[in-house]
Structures are given as structure tokens and as C-alpha cells.
Symmetry: C2
Subunit: 437 residues, 2 copies
Amino acid sequence: MNKVTPRTLPGFMELLPQDQILFNNMYDRIRKVYERFGFLPIDTPTIELSEVLLAKAGGETEKQIYRFNKGDSDLSLRFDLTVPLARYVAEHYNDLIFPFKRYQMSKVFRGERPQKGRFREFYQCDIDVIGQEALDLMFDAEIPTVIYNVFQELNIGKFTIRINNRKILNGFFESLNLINEASDILRVIDKIDKIGSREVAQELLDFGIAEESVDKIMNFISINGNNDEIITSLKDLNIDNEQFNHGIDEINEVINGMRDFSVPEDYFKIDLTIARGLDYYTGTVYETILDEYPRLGSICSGGRYENLTAYYTDEKLPGIGISIGLTRLFSQLKEIELIENSKRSLTQVLVIPFDRKDMNYTLNIASSIRNAGINTDVYYQNKGMKQKMKYADRLDIPYVILVGENEILENKATLKNMLTGEQDLLSIEEIVERLTK
Amino acid sequence: MNKVTPRTLPGFMELLPQDQILFNNMYDRIRKVYERFGFLPIDTPTIELSEVLLAKAGGETEKQIYRFNKGDSDLSLRFDLTVPLARYVAEHYNDLIFPFKRYQMSKVFRGERPQKGRFREFYQCDIDVIGQEALDLMFDAEIPTVIYNVFQELNIGKFTIRINNRKILNGFFESLNLINEASDILRVIDKIDKIGSREVAQELLDFGIAEESVDKIMNFISINGNNDEIITSLKDLNIDNEQFNHGIDEINEVINGMRDFSVPEDYFKIDLTIARGLDYYTGTVYETILDEYPRLGSICSGGRYENLTAYYTDEKLPGIGISIGLTRLFSQLKEIELIENSKRSLTQVLVIPFDRKDMNYTLNIASSIRNAGINTDVYYQNKGMKQKMKYADRLDIPYVILVGENEILENKATLKNMLTGEQDLLSIEEIVERLTK
């Protein structure tokens, strides 16, 4: 028969079981923290009507979408979890309880040109809070607090949640009469880590920004210090712009909120250069950087938006959310060896009968151990004892239980510690006790 | 602005959080049992190359597939988890440990005509074991044992796992020289519950089967009794066909294996009318019926196959597996009210500050309780106390903690049981103790 080469597409992550165990473990821990903070699960369809999903999209995003026809339907795979959330909230508005705190941890799809660290299919782990008419600013402090707890739980080293407020940026550029150029200016500013501030200033001048404005911009983005110092410096600019000053008040309240949440001060920092590309953010915005690995870029981003559901409903539903791109994060953490290898199996004990006729006794033991909540495998294949032990060894199964004539006669079994080689003839109760302690 | 009507496609299940909690709970419990029996997780891509995914497909399946082009690539969404498993095992052959026991619980996609109880996007919860060269028959007993444990865990009432062996069927039809007509005959037999045995016999005659053979077929499918009686009756047919008799030996061993696994005898039954449509099954086959709701059809099916990976590799990799169609099962169980409503939230306690100035103390309490592993929400919105309590009430949150001036003064908080209305002023330690007991 002609064979087809078994392969997956570039940009699609597929893991061996050992890594899948690690990945699932991270997934589970993120989920646990999200639930710990009162977020509720939803699971929207992977496929949506293009008309619905792309109500807002355009430009780069639209080009990346997996879009196709089936029958008479124009369909698309979701490219994020935020637009489906907007659709979900608008559709189920009357059945939801607000503020609606939801998490969704699902795959999204983007047909990007494949490149290192970019995936075409990847998990996003999102939390969002949607309010009716208004949404308290405390949520702007709660969201990064959840993320602080997630990354503490994942134990991935020191990180910093960088916080900014779009009102500060918009107000500032308004005060310079540069609001229309704002996104271009921010794109240049975004390169500051790579090209340095002198080059940024030059590019802004080349772009046609007046020297006086460039000076003010460079002065603005060079504001630094601790969080309180930055807020003081912003106030000291004495800019007479309502939006700007409202933004300062907001970021101040968010910072104080995070202190109330007991997030250590060195884990969050105001960063005036953060804007987030997406045009729907209207207030607080976040990025998260691993302190030792800034080149990885932001591992968790989000912000506040006022009008996400405007394409579907007249209700005013402001929201705030953040997203962990878990597939990418996992692959990065593996690469820099920030997560250790797991065992090759989730199994705690392998029960091995010497002989097929010992199967009934063997299975009884296995059942007793499973009933105690212990993951238990049984070796059935007709192989030599060496092969049977090798299976346990290769799967990193820490204990083996041996069952033979002698064991059955004594109504016991031999428990062997695969690490130390130690083995003891024990009753089932004794075995369960050893394995559960 | 013109609004787009927010909606999902027919045949795509989307749940409100309350039902999503139930669904996830079932998902988690299935996964726990799979892991309890030593199965390892994998997570293959949703999108595969059509050339790879459809190496074997054809007919009805192929028509249902969501297939499309992106750039130069001919892509398809997976329609089951078995073909991706075959591809996975062939691709990662050298990195896997055999027998390879894997579970995958993911969405699959079939663009069927939408009808009641049919979904176009649905979760399959699969376990399979793949062997190298050979795979012990004990796995044919383990697989339904896992399923027995899953459904016991899900507590969905009395069910019966129906077991047959394709070798018995093939051998029987071989002995009648009807092997080429076998699939048509089985299709007619499959209707016996609906149309009765007399009508089945008539259809077989109409189909051109000789009267003598029809008699033998009717006699064969009418074999009944307990499992041992059926095996005796099969032997008593004295059919001189090697495959037939091999099939009897296998089913006998599988039945005895399940007894060794302590699966109660009334939960599994030999049923000679079960064939499973899929042509890749070669030995044991399974279906599972809810005793009180046979009209729901099989809620869990599978079987043994010898050659699934033959399209990708020359290695001989026999396997056996079974699948729970969780989306359909969930929707059926909801409909017949076999699963109860869950709470509307996963949150155990809502902390409510009387006033914004109490926020710091409030958040400290919330942190302490979360650190004890308790899902905790905080009410931030600027509303009256009645509104705040209503939020807890509508989300079925069982406890509320009230924080006001008096509480802060005493370094305590008021814990209110939402069910009984009882409330007590307690220290944080006392609150944690109450909530964790």
C-alpha cells in the first residue's frame, strides 16, 4: 500500500505525553486560580458565522482567519476568545448575572506565516469581567492580581506586570494636537528597547513631528521611578487635559488597589510606553514581562474596553480582561528550561503478575489500590519479567507490585520502590497506606 | 450602528455557565478515571492536512468533513480522534512506550445535516491502547471496565455494556457463504428493535438470501440467555469455521476478564447483533445502553482494530479503543433529567464591604480565605446592600462575609449562611475553619 507520511502542519504544536502532562498541569493550575477568584467557565464554538465573528475585524486579523464555506454558510474559526465573548454576552444577555466574570481556556486559530515562537493554533487562557452600564475600577486591580497569583502558582520566576492607561496616552497626545498621529508615534516608541531613545527621537522628527513635541514626547516616555514617583511626575507635567488627568486618577487607584490586594510592589510597574495594538482598549492596559527574559516579550496582556459588544447590542457593556497565550508561553518556558521535565506517566504504581493465572488476584489488588485514589496500571503483555519491569522504568512509574504464587498464598503482594530497589511483602492495606502517605 | 444578530450555528452546543459547570464536572470525572487506569494525555491539532487525515476516509464521512484551503494547503478539521491517533502513533513511533495507553478528550467536527441530538461540533472522550505487533486480550476486558467505572462515577443510572466479536460475525457469515452480503445483512438486523424479528426475516428474504440461510441467521441472532449460556449456545451451533470459533474463545476470555475486574455481571452482556458500522473493527466491539433509555442508542462505543496505522507505516500496530460522545450524552442526560442542575457558580463565599473605604480590610480577608483553597469573590460595584446580597443569591453562593466599621474594629468579619440566614461575628481563622469543614 502507498503510505502517506504522517505529519502535522508547521505552526501547530503537538506534544509527546511527557510534555502534554506538563502542559495540562499548567492549564489546570491556571484554571484553579481563575476559579479561586470567582470566574465562571464558558466554552464557545470553535466555528462561528463569519458575519458574526468578523463584525468588527479588519486588516491584519482578517487576513489570518481560517474562513471557508460549508453548504450555504460562510464560516470562520475563532481567532481570539474576546470577540466570541462579546457575542456570547450579547446573545445570552438576559440569562447572565452581572458583573459577569468568565474564564475560557480554548484553542484559537490564526493562519499566520509560520515563524519561530508563532503558532497558528494555540491556547488562550482568558479572564474577562463584563459590567452592565458601569464596571468598578477595582476590577482593573483584580485582573492583574489574578495574573500575579497565576504566575506565582506556575512558579516561573520573577515577572513584572506593566500597567498603563490609554486615557493618559490619548490625553497626552490630545494636548499636543497629535491624536491622529498617536498610533504611529506609539509604534515608533515601542522600538525603544531595541533602537534606543536617540534613534526614536530621530524617527519621530523624520515622521514630521515638530521638535518641540518630540522633546515633550521623549520627556514623557522617559518618566521613571517607582509607581508613586511616576504618578507624581505625571501630575507635575501640569497638562490641562481632562482625559489625561482622569487617566492619572485611574492608574493611581489601580495601583492602590493592587496594594490592597497585597501584590508585592516589585511585581507591578507603571510603564508609559505600553499601548497594546488593539484599538478597542480605552483605559487600563497590561503587559507582563519575565524579568530575566524580556526578549520573550509580553507573556500576558489585556486591558479595559468600553464598546466590545456594540456590534451586537445597544446595551452598554464595559469590560476588562487579560489573556495568557499558553501554547507560546509553554514553548518558551521549555526552551529556556524554566519548567522542568515531568515524569513520563501519571501512574503511581504498576501491578505485574508473574503468570497469567495470577490475573484474578492481580486485578483485585489493582482495584483496591485504584479505589484508594491511586493511578494504577497493570501489565498484561506476555513478556519476560525483565521486559515488564522495563515498562515501569521507561514510564517513570515509581512503584511496582509483584504478584506470584507466594504472594497469593500469603494473601499479600510485593511492593517494590523503583528508585531505591527496596521491596517488601505487604498486605493490601499496608500497600495502600505506603502509597498514599 | 447596524447591529449583527449575535447567534451561533445550528448543531453547535453552547452552554450557560450553570450548565458549563456541570459539563466540565463530567469532563473532569471522566478524565480522572482514565488517568486512574494509566492512560496518558495527548492533544492533537484540530486542523490536519487533508492528505493525512483522509488517507483512509471515504463515503459518508468524507462528505461531512470541514475541508478548506488556506494558502497552498488543503486542510481539514478532525472528524474523530482515532485517525489523528493513528497518525500520532505512526509519526512519533520511536518516542512512544508500548503498549501505548492514551486518552484524548477534544472537540471533533462533522458537517452533518443538523437534527435533534446531532451535533456538528462535539467532544469525544477517547481511550485507546496501541500495541507493538501484538496486544493482549486483557485490554479488551480492561477497556469496558474503565467505561464501567466512568459511568459509575458519573452516576447516570443502570447501564449495560453490550459486547460482541467481529470474528464471530464474520466466521458465521463465512460459514453461510454470505461474507460479501454481511454488512447489508447486519444493517437489516440492526433494525430488529424497531421492526421486530418477523419483519427482519422478510427483509432478508426480499434481499435475496436463501430461506435456509435466513433461518440460520434468525436462529443465530435469537440466541439469548446469560453470558455463559450464550457462549454455550454458540458452541452448540457446531460451526466448522476457524474464525468463528476463535471469536468465541476471545469473547469468552473477555467476559472472564471483566469478571476478574469485578465488574458486576449485570453490567455487561454479549449481544450478537452488534457490529459497529466502522469497517476497521476486527475483533471485540462494544456499545453501551442506558437500561431505562434504550431509545437514546449507544452512549459509548468502540472496539479492536488491527490495521488503523497501515496508511502511514509498515509497523504492525493493533489497537483497541472506546469513545464517549460527551456533548451528545450531556444533552441527552439533561433532557431526561438524569443530571441535576448545578449551582450557578463555583464560588463558595462572597465578601462584601459595606463601604469603599473598607476595601483594604475586605481584600485581606478575601486573600486569607483564598489561601485556604476556597473560591472567593468580592463585590466591588457601588450598589446598595440589597443589590450586593442579590448577586450572591442569584449565583447560589452559599456564604457571604460582611465587612463594615464594627467588623474592622473587632478585627473580625460577619459570616452569613445564605441558606439558613444565620450569621456570626468571627475571626478570620474561625471563618476559614467553618468554610473548610
